[in-house]
Amino acid sequence: MPTVGDYGIQVNRSGSKAQIDGKYRNYWIFKNAALNTSSGAGLIYLWVGDSGNRPLTSDHPPFVALSLEGTDSSHFATSLHYAHFDSVTYNAWTSITVYTDNLNSINYMVLCPPVDNWYFEDTYGMKIFNEDGKECFRSWVNYPELIGSYSWSGLTAPASPIWPPFDTTDVTVEDADNYFVIVPNHNWWWGNYDAVTGANNIWYYTMRMHKHDSTTVRIDCGFHKGSYNTGAGMADFVNDNLFENSGTLLEFAPVKALE
């Protein structure tokens, strides 16, 4: 039963669970595309804005999900996922860091809530606004379904630079072809700190996810050296307890056209 303070529109599906709840902002798929990288590791910047170059604001925080391709861990690596969002400057960017060792293409999708007053040519259907007058649902965009949240833990931080990955853990999912995003319990750490010269050395604590089989996503970690590495400085990483050995894997089932 509605209570005082409820608002918006609620649609229930069978089982009395809310299918649409107009109180909340529902995240839709703003962008769904392939990410091409020519280098083994890189920081990829994604512009997130509408055709009028209006960026998202902190009121419309996006995040990024990466899909899995292939099952060969030696040739597929994604995932150092790092979504940064600048909520202050005009040229707001969402950036993700992706490590690939061979494959040059990774699918990704950017998720964000409905953005007020963004221009869309196909304006039809229904909008739902919340009590603040913010759009919380539009009927003409695609919404991903979050179907699983899986905790993982127990990865061991490498004691020295090592690659291929040092430790691994498996997560059983509904379908390993779905979209995923890894959310560390603390922070998805990555770095390019150079404890020796202060510049030019690049070291990565890297966690990856890849499809192991149809229902298994494998998460592994390693310590990857960049263009130059002496090995010094690694103890600092370990001693600062920056390595995250646990996290959460979110599984999104892409919304598909049924007819």
Binding site: V11, S14, Y24, Y27, F63, S149, V183, N187, G191, G198
Partner: protein, 104 residues
């Protein structure tokens, strides 16, 4: 008789069907670096949630040789707790966006 709502796109394809579910953003908070606190989110009582965090501080990103230490976020019942990093040399505490999604 199906229950729920169905939406079509401009091509007549179903983009949202009667059994589709949408994960809903039920909590959003941008918390400051070096601050720790908690909040009660009644909407998550007894429900599955997903927590997403990321830095909103651009000042240390890419400019220095540092990573960023977003807050540690945990859930206990309806209480969401965020704890700042200890400002480790290589991983300073930063402003953090906390997003909590409900899915059921």
């Amino acid at each position: 008789m199906p229950i729920g709502m169905r939406c079509y796109d401009a091509s007549g394809d179903v983009v949202f069907d009667t059994e589709s579910k949408v994960s809903r953003l039920v909590y959003k908070n941008e918390v400051s670096a070096n601050s720790s606190s908690n909040a009660t989110v009644d909407a998550i009582d007894g429900e599955n949630i997903a927590i997403v965090t990321y830095s909103t501080d651009n000042s240390t990103f890419g400019a220095g040789n540092y990573s960023q230490g977003t807050h540690i976020v945990t859930r206990s019942g309806t209480t969401i707790t965020w704890t700042a990093r200890n400002n480790a040399t290589h991983c300073p505490s930063v402003d953090t966006m906390i997003l909590i999604f409900l899915y059921e």
